[in-house]
């Protein structure tokens, strides 16, 4: 078995990305740059809709059902089979509501905030390899790119909090920033420990690096998913991610019983839908990142064509966990949250990084030594 850190730079003959395949399939690639652009747009449209269907349509319904199961209720069951048509009813209801804009709202910022929140998460999905060939782009800085665009959401939250001309929104916006800054660092630093293992920031490279077998237990191949390789980093990343997307026990920016709904207090109708959608997208993007860098991406039993199924299953598993925590855990106070972030998570994240670097470095040195001695 080769050392984890020694993986070569991913081969250039990797699986073609979705736009390329679409271009080939439809013949659009014959049309030069313009054709490629159209193919890219179509591909982005497909991926975008897939994600929106999952987060905007299935998400809220599933959330209701899951939370209900946790809290001993039944939830929607009247409209359509399993209450599935409630999705349609909800859509009509939310879109038909009056859009109320506070008198003193800071207009461009107030209007832009929901779009920033929702689109920043959408952008993140572009570099996620979802299996079955659904992969929009694969830049070499993939992981850094995801963190960067997901971080833009904080700007949207501040805008929403500030522009609403509401004190609760203001408090919520400030909390959101404080929280995002405090947890972005441990999140990225923990992500870096994976990069050390994989030796690349490229998403496809990280997935490929996890494809090997870590250990065989009773005839069962345990893949080298980084969740198994470094469970400590996995847990750290999960926790930081929950804080990042503002879920229990770290849902202080919204904290309905304290500051009404935080930065989204003054949003109604379509804007509310956008902010809400943005939140769901961020949860799912968080799930996608976790699946990609810790759970082997689309890897799973069965043919490679099933990749997207496994990938979605993994995202939903993370989603399920957020709902579970939400139902079972109390919320920490804002000062405690910041304290956990700066005094706990940050230290642990750096400790994890240093340790990972040491281990990988030692393994590499040992490997280099063996190669010198037994060429």
């Amino acid at each position: 078995m080769s050392g984890a850190g020694l993986l070569p730079v991913p081969l250039q003959d990797a699986e073609p990305l979705l736009p390329e395949r679409l271009g080939e399939l439809t013949g659009l690639d014959q049309l030069g740059m313009g054709g490629e652009l159209i193919a890219t747009f179509i591909a982005a449209f497909i991926v975008g809709n897939l994600m929106l269907a999952m987060t905007g349509v299935a998400g809220p319904w599933a959330k209701r059902k899951i939370t209900a199961a946790f809290t001993d209720r039944i939830a929607v069951n009247r409209v359509g089979p399993f209450g599935l048509l409630i999705i349609v009813a909800d859509a009509v209801r939310l879109l038909a509501k009056e859009l109320i804009i506070p008198e003193n709202a800071d207009r461009p910022a107030y209007d832009l905030a929901p779009i920033v929140v929702a689109s920043s998460a959408m952008l993140g999905f572009a570099v996620i390899p979802m299996g079955s060939g659904i992969h929009l782009a694969d830049p070499e800085v993939g992981l850094a790119y995801v963190f960067a665009v997901a971080g833009i959401a904080s700007v949207g939250l501040v805008m929403a909090g500030y522009a609403s001309a509401n004190k609760y929104s203001m408090l919520g916006g400030l909390r959101a920033v404080a929280q995002n800054i405090a947890y972005e660092i441990p999140l990225v630093v923990t992500g870096m420990s994976v990069v050390i293992f994989a030796g690349t920031l490229q998403m496809s490279g990280i997935v490929e690096a996890q494809a090997e077998t870590l250990i065989t237990l009773g005839g069962l191949d345990i893949p080298m998913w980084y969740a198994f390789v470094n469970p400590f980093a996995f847990v750290l990343f999960l926790a930081a991610n929950f804080a990042e997307v503002g879920r229990n026990p770290f849902d202080t920016p919204e904290a309905p019983t304290e500051i009404v709904a935080g930065y989204q207090t003054e949003y109604s109708s379509v804007y509310f839908v956008l902010i809400y959608l943005g939140e769901f997208l961020h949860i799912f993007l968080g799930g996608a990142i976790i699946a990609t860098i810790f759970l082997g991406g689309p890897a799973g039993p069965g043919p490679a064509e099933l990749g997207i199924v496994w990938f979605i299953v993994k995202i939903w598993a993370v989603f399920l966990l957020t709902q579970w925590l939400r139902s079972a855990l109390p919320r920490v106070r804002i000062d405690q949250l910041i304290e956990i972030g700066w005094k706990g998570m940050l230290v642990l994240a750096f400790a994890n990084l240093v340790l990972t670097a040491l281990i990988v470095g030692l393994l590499e040195a040992e490997l280099a030594l063996t190669m010198v001695m037994f060429p």
Binding site: F70, T71, D72, R73, K167, Y168, L171, N248, P249, D251, T252, A255, P256, T257, E258, I259, V260, R326, S327, A328, L329, P330, R331, V332, R333, I334, D335, Q336
Partner: protein, 553 residues
């Protein structure tokens, strides 16, 4: 000051009538004994003097209630004093003031509880308290004209107070003030105010600098409605509507006890056992709700704990429905007993109740797993919302709020009524003084209540069939002799729910005053929360377990 009196050193020891008389001395203009306590009439400018003496020298550390009322020739404030160590020791200080100039010295420097109580008397009755630290209206809007319970008030004339006429809490000067603080209206519509409570908070960042609960949004003139109903039948439905979250029977008992003492009505033992059982069922239901909503405040959503608490409360509600025919507004107690016997078939009712009691320990341990032992919950609740016992006493806090601060008072044990003294149970107290302790007290009380119910069921099962007397003989029209006064409290879910009644010789009360435990517990909120964070303010508010229907009445 030396009075030369031989007063008992231990506050719990009885102060005799003679000692009291000697202590008040020639400041007493006359005696005005009430059914429950000796009463002294004093001059309006002796109030603090007398109350300080009674508090410091005779140990009356609990200002239970301040009643204000108007007679044809005078206004009167009545200070009902008790002792936390022994609430059966009572004394009433009656302070008459003239109709033309109803000014009386404030008692606020002696008891913090007098602050809100006197504001209420000013608001509703129209007595001015000289030297009061905060002489504002409390229940009615600032712009209200007249005092509704005074005799010359025109009850027929409606007063519409529009929002624009309300005093604007955001005064103009706050906009360009130099301070770095932020004024925040929490409520009256806010997810965590447990009804329509309006908390005016001043924040420094996330830290609470100043808190001023603004109440009265749910004021429904309950006292006046009771004054317009007949003792025998028309008042009993009202108590259900004070603390309306399933504490109905406890409230009804407060009224029943006051009138039974006022008119010397005996209650058959069998009825007392049924009352005791019903009241404790109500207490469990009320504490379950308190637990659920407190979890809601700390967890931040309608999460598992809230739903579980409601699921378990539902079982109690079913039993209460079987017993009384109602789920919320029971109207089950009658003067001298209860409305009807246990539902037939009795075995089924007993079996159902026993099933509930058998399941309860497992449920309680579930809550212990989910809440009490949860580390995040502990981090949130331990050492937040501190209420020192001395502060709690001064504000007249009672019930789980006081017991969570280590104040060991429970009227069921200390001023026995019903069948409690024959049963085996404990009073739960915690010394933590924080939000966590108050939760623990409520959880403990649920278990104690279950013990009481079990013993009641045992008793009721074996009760001989021919001795099941559910009501004593009470005259169809009850007319207690004129100018009889009584103040009686019972241990409701939130604390001491007291009722003062003065009869005027008719079949309706001359004055009906409700001493609400939530009202006094809520007045401790600024003490608990100033200097803490907003989330702790919300949690502390939740831990007080107030019901606005009872605060505002």
């Amino acid at each position: 000051m030396s009075t030369g009196l031989d007063l008992p050193a231990d506050a719990s020891l009885e102060v005799t009538d003679d000692q009291l008389e000697a202590l008040v001395g020639d400041r007493a203009l006359a005696r005005d004994d009430h059914k429950n306590a000796p009463g002294f009439v004093i001059r309006p400018d002796d109030v603090q003097d007398v109350l300080f003496d009674l508090r410091d020298q005779a140990g009356f550390d609990y200002l239970s209630c301040v009643t204000g009322q108007q007679y044809a020739d005078r206004y009167e404030s009545v200070y009902h004093l008790k002792k936390y160590d022994d609430p059966t020791q009572e004394v009433s200080i009656v302070v008459p003031t003239s109709t033309d100039d109803p000014v009386s010295q404030t008692a606020a420097p002696v008891y913090d509880a007098a602050n809100w109580a006197e504001r209420e008397n000013f608001d509703l009755v129209g007595i001015d308290y000289e030297g009061h630290p905060d002489p504002r209206r409390i229940l009615l809007p600032e712009t209200w004209q007249g005092h509704p319970l005074s005799l010359d008030y025109n009850q027929e004339k409606p007063q519409v107070v529009t929002l624009a006429e309300h005093a604007n809490p955001l005064q103009a000067d706050q906009k360009d003030s130099e301070t770095d603080t932020m004024f925040l209206n929490i409520g009256p519509h806010h997810p965590a105010t447990h009804g329509v409570l309006h908390v005016k908070a001043v924040l420094d960042g996330e830290t609470v600098v100043d808190v001023d609960p603004d109440i009265g949004y749910l004021h429904r003139c309950e006292e006046q409605m009771c004054q317009q109903g007949t003792y025998r039948h028309q008042i009993m439905p009202y108590p259900d509507r004070w603390d309306y979250v399933s504490a109905g029977l406890l409230n009804e008992w407060a009224y029943a006890r006051a009138v039974e003492d006022l008119a010397d009505i005996e209650v058959p033992e069998y009825a007392q056992v049924i009352r005791t059982m019903g009241a404790e069922l109500c207490r469990i239901a009320a504490h379950m709700l308190a637990l659920g909503t407190f979890a809601l405040d700390v967890f931040g959503d309608f999460t598992a704990v809230f739903q579980y608490a409601f699921r378990d409360r539902e079982v109690v509600q079913d039993i209460l429905e079987d017993l009384t025919g109602q789920r919320l507004m029971f109207n089950y107690f009658r003067l001298g007993g209860v409305a009807w016997d246990l539902p037939e078939p009795r075995e089924e009712f007993f079996a159902k109740t026993r099933d509930f009691l058998d399941d309860l320990p497992q449920k309680v341990s579930e809550y212990e797993d989910l809440i009490v032992t949860n580390e995040i919950f502990q981090v949130r609740c331990v050492d937040t919302g501190i209420l020192e016992p001395e502060v709690a006493k001064s504000y007249g806090a009672t019930g789980p709020t006081a017991r969570g601060s280590g104040v060991d008072m429970d009227l069921r044990r200390d001023d026995p009524y019903g069948y409690y003294e024959h049963l085996d149970w404990d009073v739960i107290t915690e010394d933590g003084m924080d939000n966590y302790s108050r939760v623990l007290v409520r959880m403990g009380e649920v278990e104690e209540s279950a013990k009481i119910i079990e013993q009641c069921v045992d008793l009721l099962e074996d009760w001989p069939e021919d001795e099941r007397e559910i009501q004593s003989n009470v005259p169809r029209t009850l007319k207690p002799p004129a100018d009889t006064e009584v103040y009686r409290g019972v241990e409701a879910a939130k604390g001491e729910l007291g009722i003062y009644i003065r009869s005027d010789g008719t079949d309706k009360p001359g004055r009906f005053k409700i001493r609400s435990p939530c009202f006094h517990n809520l007045s401790t909120l600024p003490e608990m929360t100033e200097g803490e964070y907003i989330p702790d303010l919300i949690a502390s508010l939740g831990s007080l377990d107030i019901v606005l229907g009872e605060v505002d009445r």
